[in-house]
Symmetry: C2
Subunit: 245 residues, 2 copies
């Protein structure tokens, strides 16, 4: 049995997320179908994490365990010849038998783009969330500093996650920058709760427009109550950039 | 009669170019239809230049002449409320009565993107031309230096243009840079022949892979023969970045 580590890029626009589900197109299912077509054995693609419907990935990671002795480069070429245009396997690498895309992961980097302008941008439409109101970058950065580090992020977890799970995470970095109308938020951490990045972005936007102040952030964290934080920013602005091992 | 200068952005993927044509969707027609809907008078949108089917624009310029006294900001808001997602009017500005989007233009900037990798990129698919073979950037830059300046570019004009037209143009700058797998070509000039940018990119790619040398460029220019230059690079990598007045 061989374990292969896969690095995957996809445009999430036309996927109902990474995870296989009935009656909807998913990245996982597309990959599994494509591999089965030439490997002729049962295939289960295990991702480092789910991405929701509409979320993109520059370097999602997954693994498969197979018996077929086909070289890695040939596997990559064959699978990409079958996959549709919006998903690609960038790398196929031999991994040790105990490698697990999800459990071996030590951290992740996400990026979120906000198109901050009264005018929509057709060329940035599919990869960002347009927010027309003026946002104060310095206030958002200040709020971001209150979020960086080890905290209980329960207030930023969309309910639907399992109850009584540990909600403390270490957000090692949160960088905010702006180029033209495009604001970029980069998150680096050991793990993320369900919708945590999108809930933080929605909250930072509220800080940026003055509905909250940076000083509200410690209170929101302390409350451990999703209703205290801002809304969930939409999926199309979110990119899974890297999974660290 | 008022003359309005329009700055327009579009994702060219689903347009058959800028110019109105029967039975195909064009940027010009979409704009005219949208303006007519609330201005209630005949509208002709005159662009700074055509862009071909699939070519994108970050700041295309056009003008309209109207009688309606609606303020510029209201016109912009109204038209963008009607236009589909892949096109937007970024600016509506009052212009002098002799302003003409095409004849007043003093120059243009185009950018072309090549995704230079064996592996396709779903996230760059719609905005670049994927070229899998290794390209020598230094050789392409050297070839670019032979193209910069005032030359007869007839060898880089796709036939179909009017015969006996002047084919001398001043290409004031041609910059080539690479970031990751993405190669960017930026062209700045007083005017461009039909398909000139795409024909130059096709030729530079041939230089990059060694099918031509930088020293072939002066000969190709001298020949004034389209067959001596390289192929036409595809539309989806091309962006009209700016029109200068």
């Amino acid at each position: 049995m061989r374990t292969l580590k896969l690095t995957i890029e996809y445009d999430g626009t036309h996927f109902f997320g990474f995870q296989r589900q009935k009656e909807h197109r998913s990245v996982q299912e597309e990959l599994e179908k494509a591999f089965r077509q030439f490997l002729h054995e049962p295939i289960c693609v295990t991702g480092a994490g789910r991405t929701d419907s509409g979320v993109h990935a520059l370097r999602q990671v997954a693994h498969i365990r197979i018996q077929n002795p086909l070289p890695e480069a040939a596997i990559r070429k064959a699978v990409n010849g079958i996959l549709s245009k919006d998903v690609v396997v960038k790398k196929v690498e031999a991994a040790s038998s105990d490698f697990h895309a999800r459990y071996s992961a030590r951290g992740k980097i996400y990026q979120y783009f906000v198109w901050n302008s009264l005018i929509r941008s057709p060329l940035n439409e599919a990869i960002s969330y347009r927010y027309p109101k003026k946002l104060d970058l310095e206030k958002m950065k200040e709020a971001g500093r209150h979020l960086t580090g080890k905290h209980d992020f329960k207030s930023f977890q969309t309910s639907g996650g399992k109850k009584d799970m540990a909600t403390v995470r270490n957000l090692s970095a949160l960088k905010i920058s702006k180029k033209g109308s495009l604001i970029s938020f980069t998150f680096e951490g050991d793990g993320f709760l369900y919708n945590m990045v999108r809930n933080i972005v929605g909250t930072l936007i509220w800080v940026g427009e003055g509905r909250l102040t940076p000083f509200d952030i410690p209170q929101i964290l302390k409350a451990r109550d999703r209703r205290k934080a801002g809304p969930t920013a939409p999926a199309q602005g979110l990119f899974l950039i890297k999974v660290k091992y």
